[in-house]
């Protein structure tokens, strides 16, 4: 006799996102929104500047989300969220979570001034950057989040991007905000847990969510989760938290670090890279990973020493 099968959900069944959105197939940013809203729930307001999500949501008069959205100006996600939070509080709503939800261009580039301002003031908002590593909504132009070696329409193969990706997490950690975390659509439980944790913290909270983009990365839509997972397993995009700019905690430490070439070879945007260039990328990842281990272990040592 067969045993009755039981299924245990690792995420709440409630959905705040409806079918009918306008995202491309395999869009990582769309998954990111779905998981984040599961963690934050109904009492949430989103401030979305110009980015893929200003389209994904759907055209007026439609919206695919069950929470209110303020579609704001490109460079204003953080300032808009600060204003919404203050406005809600002044009309008696102290409970609602206000989220700035921006892409990498709106965060790393045009929105960084407002973001830095809000973080320095420690305004009571959650800022989420979903990072697909280029201006995808305008048609794949390089941003300062585009990694070394990548092709985009403004960094053609003959002159691919030869600067490293801006370290936005280090910049935000330097603001000594109460909480920041990286997260990935390949690890929804980890993302969910950290977002839940962030929701209960007061002050500026920052999330850097890795969100593959098949359209811009020249990858297969069905590889989105695989790519996001490989990014973590290769330590290209480690998952960790930083509290008050000092307390680093690595959430997922791969037992065996996979070579970055496994990650790069699934994407057309890196197909032109030579072995030598890939070695350079690998060396950069190793350096960053060791830096992160040091930051995290120094804390462990410190806390041991304090006992």
């Amino acid at each position: 006799m067969k045993k009755a099968r039981t299924m245990k959900l690792s995420l709440p069944i409630e959905e705040y996102m409806n079918p009918g959105h306008l995202a491309c197939q395999g869009c990582g940013a769309t998954l990111a929104m779905r998981y984040v809203l599961k963690a934050l729930g109904q009492k949430t307001v989103l401030c979305i500047p110009a980015c893929c999500w200003s389209v994904i949501d759907g055209p007026f008069p439609y919206s695919c989300l069950d929470v209110p959205i303020f579609h704001c100006a490109f460079e204003t996600a953080a300032a808009s969220a600060s204003g919404v939070k203050a406005g809600l509080e002044m009309v008696g709503d102290k409970e609602t979570t206000v989220v700035a939800w921006a892409g990498d261009g709106g965060t790393f580039d045009i929105g960084i001034q407002a973001l830095s301002g809000a973080a320095e003031r420690n305004d009571n908002i959650i800022y989420v950057c979903y990072d697909n590593e280029a201006y995808m909504n305008t048609g794949i132009q390089r941003s300062s989040a585009t990694p070394y070696g990548a092709w985009t329409t403004t960094t053609p193969v003959k002159h691919f991007k030869d600067q490293p990706k801006k370290d936005i997490v280090a910049i935000m950690a330097a603001h000594r905000i109460p909480y920041l975390a990286t997260a990935s659509v390949a690890y929804p439980e980890d993302l969910f847990r950290k977002m839940k944790k962030a929701k209960e913290i007061k002050g500026t909270r920052f999330f850097h969510i890795f969100a593959p983009c098949p359209t811009g990365w020249r990858s297969r839509p069905e590889d989105t989760i695989k790519l996001a997972r490989l990014a973590v397993q290769t330590c290209y995009f480690p998952l960790f938290e930083v509290e008050w700019g000092e307390k680093y905690t690595i959430n997922i430490k791969p037992k065996e670090k996979k070579p970055v070439v496994d990650y790069l070879r699934l994407q057309g945007r890196f197909s032109h890279l030579t072995e030598k260039e890939i070695e350079l990328i690998q060396a950069g990842i190793d350096r960053q990973w060791h830096r992160l281990l040091r930051l995290a272990s120094e804390r462990e040592k410190l806390s041991v020493g304090g006992e």
């Binding site: 200003s54 008069p61 300032a79 808009s80 406005g87 609602t96």
Partner: protein, 383 residues
Amino acid sequence: MKKVIMGNHALSYGAMLARVQVISAYPITPQTQVVELLSEMCASKALEAQFIKVESEHSAMAALIGASLAGARTFTATSAHGLTLMHELLHWAAGGRLPIVMGNINRALAPGWNIWADQNDSLSQRDTGWMQFYCANNQEVLDSVIQAYKVAERLYIPAMIILDAFSLSHTYEVVDIPEQSQVDAYLPPFKPAFRLTPDEPHAFGGLTSPDYYFELRYKLQKAMENVPEIIEETGREYEKKFGRYLGAVEAYQVDDADLILVTSGTAGSTAKVAVDKLRKRGLKVGNLRIRLFRPFPFEIVRHYLRRAKKVAVVDRNISYGHHGIFYQETKSALYGFSSVPIFGFIAGLGGRDITPETFEEIIDYTFSHETPEAEIIWIGVKK
């Protein structure tokens, strides 16, 4: 209560009496005293408001747009470069139909750096969909803030209260500061029809196709067209409560005037001194000071000017390659209604003084010429 205060503080008191709930601002000379006093008011709880001390004017307006959308009454103040940095968001506020009220101290734009009076900063924003009020004294500054909220929140249009750098912003005058209870009776709390709240989720400002966008802008213009009437109504109500009428224009000695000056801002007060002096010489001169520039009160301007024999418009601004901007508007108001010669003068750019003598020169010129010798007559320029 009567108090001797500077123009900038008249803005602060106006905001306090209007019980603004969210303030967001960035310092710029000559605006700083506005936000300094508001900071004190917030700190001492004389004003129950949140003050977001942002890192730029751009963020100041962005934060207010968010706060206004959430349903709060909002205020900021800026000047010159701060205002032009906000430009994108001025469109955002008006297009979003958010009744934000902002003080702007008229200051010249660089280069070279110049902190003195000049209207080009605010007039460069004339097509953003904001109401614009140009003030001539500190009392009017305070009163205008209160009236502006009333009009703005009724029509869902933001408003700019404008005062000249130093000649008003830093000039101390006696101002009657009304009782809070009286202001409360005039200006009810802000209760917008729609707002950003999880209780009733809407998406504001999303992707709007040509099928919808056109109508949204049509509605903004239709609301704008109602402004002069609402100004008249709320201005009369203000007069009943506070004894001071707040209209779209201030007409001085115009009824029998052969020559009517068209002025704005503090120059509009100075013009009255010149009018008095020249009337003693037997010259029939009057002054029409435009208080409401946007929307331009075409009918009212037409009503006063069409009887004059000559009109002299004095601009402390210029639209390069065209004329003074009040001159353009005045011509446009009279087109097809009157063939009165309109003289366009430009004076006082970058804070050069506009004195009663300036007006005497303008009046003498206008009386002694059949028609203007050029499209622009420059006063006091060193050629």
